[in-house]
Subunit: 247 residues, 2 copies
């Protein structure tokens, strides 16, 4: 790794900068947390899409009986979709061997905007160790960590996740942009302090208000997942095989 950049919102994405880069897209609450969880629960593939129209067209094109549509727009379920965006909806029974077409306001928009990346993987608080491990062994000159943010603005939980990934990287002699440098100068050491901080954020407050403390605790369970999920050759999400991880 020669260079490592942190971009704090989807608006910062410059697709032309990504062609030779390994990119991590983060949308902790909830897209990248839900997407990684859906794969862990047995889905075959996930197709991230940018809008409802793309979801409908893709469903017609794939044209088989094992497809589910899921996601949200503006935090609300999408009319006509099979599921919304909470991890708990995607039970192993429901998703086993299914193809999932998934849409979200910030997360899949960021994935779409960054899809020119040489490699693109998903980060969340649960899989930060695995993501950092992958980046440390990847044969890439450029690493770019992208926070999806929220409506074009900074999201607390996405930044904290990026901060944790950065603090786990072998970063000596690597050229950093200001945001990455800043994050590395302000490391986090305590899971409890992170959970407390994120509960004060916009989405954290909303989850608490809606009585979804259990879901919140699931999303802030740092290191609970060892899954490395990324874009495959056809643009769909799947597990990055171990043999590719140390190439």
């Amino acid at each position: 790794m020669d260079r490592c950049q942190l971009w704090l919102t989807t608006e910062e994405i410059k697709p032309e900068r990504l062609e030779d880069a390994t990119v991590v897209v983060i949308d902790v609450l909830l897209a990248t947390t839900t997407l990684v969880t859906i794969m862990e629960r047995g889905a075959r593939r996930i197709f991230p899409v940018e809008n409802v129209e793309e979801a409908k067209q893709l469903k017609a094109k794939l044209n088989h009986s094992s497809i589910l549509t899921g996601g949200e727009q503006g935090g609300k379920a999408v009319q006509g979709f099979d599921c919304a965006h909470l991890p708990d909806e995607y039970t192993p029974e429901l998703v086993k061997d299914k193809d999932i077409i998934f849409l979200s306001s910030n997360g899949t928009r960021a994935i779409s905007k960054a899809k020119q990346a040489q490699k693109l993987i998903l980060g969340n608080l649960r899989n930060v160790n695995t993501v950092a491990d992958y980046l440390n062994h990847a044969s890439t000159k450029d690493v770019i960590i992208i926070c999806a943010g929220s409506g074009g603005h900074f999201s607390l939980e996405d930044y904290v996740c990026a901060n944790l990934i950065l603090s786990r990287l072998n970063i000596e002699d690597v050229k950093l942009n200001d945001a990455a440098l800043f994050a590395l100068n302000h490391p986090y050491n305590s899971k409890e302090a992170i959970a407390e901080l994120l509960a004060k954020g916009r989405v954290g407050r909303n989850l608490m208000k809606l009585g979804m403390e259990e879901l919140f605790q699931f999303t802030v369970d740092i290191g609970a997942s060892e899954s490395n999920i990324g874009i495959q050759s056809e643009g769909e999400l799947g597990f990055i095989p171990q043999k590719l991880r140390w190439e």
Copy 2:
């Protein structure tokens, strides 16, 4: 103050959100530092512009002999302009009673994009106390602190300046966005630590490489200025009169 938001790049500016807001625009290295300094050294008015063409048209329109054009594009002096963007170029002898037309890559672009604000003032590290004092006494519901950033990305020095302003606000019961909440949870206490951090940032490193340590020390001299500079009725920058400050 009911709500206080921090936006981290020019790209985050949503002009339609600014009409009832008091806005602070920050571009520490160097636009807002230079602009406040030019006013302190005796300029009559400063006209921030978005591009070279606008500068030329405005010069023709104002059509008098006491006009200076100044600024930079991509960090470089603009061909045909009288001055570039360093505070030191604008001596009291040069700028006294002059009208300055000023252009910068990030700072004046942010000012232009945010000019719909009910009130717009300039922040830099030198005048953080005065800016915070103004905001604490302003009769406004919405305060929005905007970091110009750099090329659409996060700038370390702009964020630190915003952090210092926020930490000086009477913020109890004020609704904060995630970036403002984050900044308030990570306050800075030491001038020395700030100078050390900012010297590691992209522009800080460049200044050091160019042997401009004195300029750097000038820009990080927190609290050295008591000037409150903002947009006046005709769109030009000038001192915000004391009688308006406590309305």
